[in-house]
Symmetry: C2
Subunit: 168 residues, 2 copies
DNA sequence: ATATATTTTCAATAATTATTGAAATTTCGG
DNA sequence: CCGAAATTTCAATAATTATTGAAAATATAT
């Protein structure tokens, strides 16, 4: 397979992959393109390569920057802005985990705290099932939260291997 | 907070949560409803509780069954089918991990194998960056795959052990 | 300061995805 | 079997989400 074809397949699959994880296709594709580009690219490079509009490109680049996955790069003598993606995949994963934890897991845990304190007789089957379910989710969620914290702090991806011990 | 309100908030949040994870809102809501219901429910119960159409209910229940998160339950003397969700959250998580691994991670790893074998001179910066990126992702992906296998095989989450007995 | 290049915004539109509801099919008691 | 109840399907429609492109804002060189 030629590089051009391989690149395109990677970009397209990474995009499809992203959509299964709540990330929009274009954002994932821009990320993929930057991941396999040895040099930083401009908005125009990205627009051209992926044949998408300027607005779309701009919005998704900014979103990638918000997620901490892409950086603006200044190149001296160049007026345009350049962008490059973090190439160390372990750092990328940690960054994504960190963001999703903050955006989704933590708010969910806060909500569960509130819901667990529902009024009513614990002898009532309805109440009991509700409280038990909520507290089960909460406990697992809190543990996941802690585990992810440790993971985010880990220097090396080998930690993932070490995690296995926990499950044994 | 009253049970009814708490239930509704849980269902609605679980639905929103799901959408961030590539799961459609209704499917997640049905799942949430069944999670907090002490007794199995019929399609009509679910339709009424969530005010959604029969078709929608049916399709999403089937999808939940495909995911292994919901079971058909036969109740003697009843003509209608009843449905109930696995209440053991650890099992739920394992089941979801198992399915997503099969549906997403494994195909991605297969693709990466193909892409890594791209033609071209490794001295070429473009080729090198591509191959390095792909093999970095592959390495991490394989590791994750193994770790998840171990996790799926684990009998109990490392901490919820005692709690789970409560549900049984 | 002005002209020009570059980036950003956002209302309009397109594309995608979810939902409905009625018809077709299946199941099951009598 | 027959008929009623229950389930499933799926074309039509609605709702949501993504994308465009042109105008506005901003930055920079001269």
């Amino acid at each position: 397979m030629k590089l051009t074809e391989a690149k395109q397949q990677f970009i397209s699959s990474w995009g499809a992959f992203g959509t299964h994880w709540g990330i929009n296709r274009t954002m994932a594709q821009i990320h993929a393109l930057l991941l396999v580009s040895p040099e930083p690219l401009t908005q125009d490079d990205i627009m051209e390569e992926l044949t998408i509009s300027r607005g779309n490109t701009n919005m998704n680049i900014r979103e990638l920057i918000n997620w901490g996955l892409v950086d603006r790069v200044l190149i001296s003598g160049e007026r345009k802005e350049f962008f490059s993606a973090e190439k160390d995949i372990w750092k990328v994963v940690k960054q994504i985990v960190k963001e999703r934890k903050k955006r989704e897991l933590e708010p969910m845990l806060q909500l569960l705290d509130k819901l667990e304190a529902v009024e009513g007789d614990k002898k009532d089957k309805e109440v009991k099932t509700f409280v038990d379910t909520i507290s089960g989710i909460k406990k697992l969620g809190r543990q996941a939260d802690k585990t992810l914290d440790t993971m985010i702090r880990a220097e090396e991806s080998w930690f993932v291997g070490a995690l296995m011990k926990v499950f044994k």
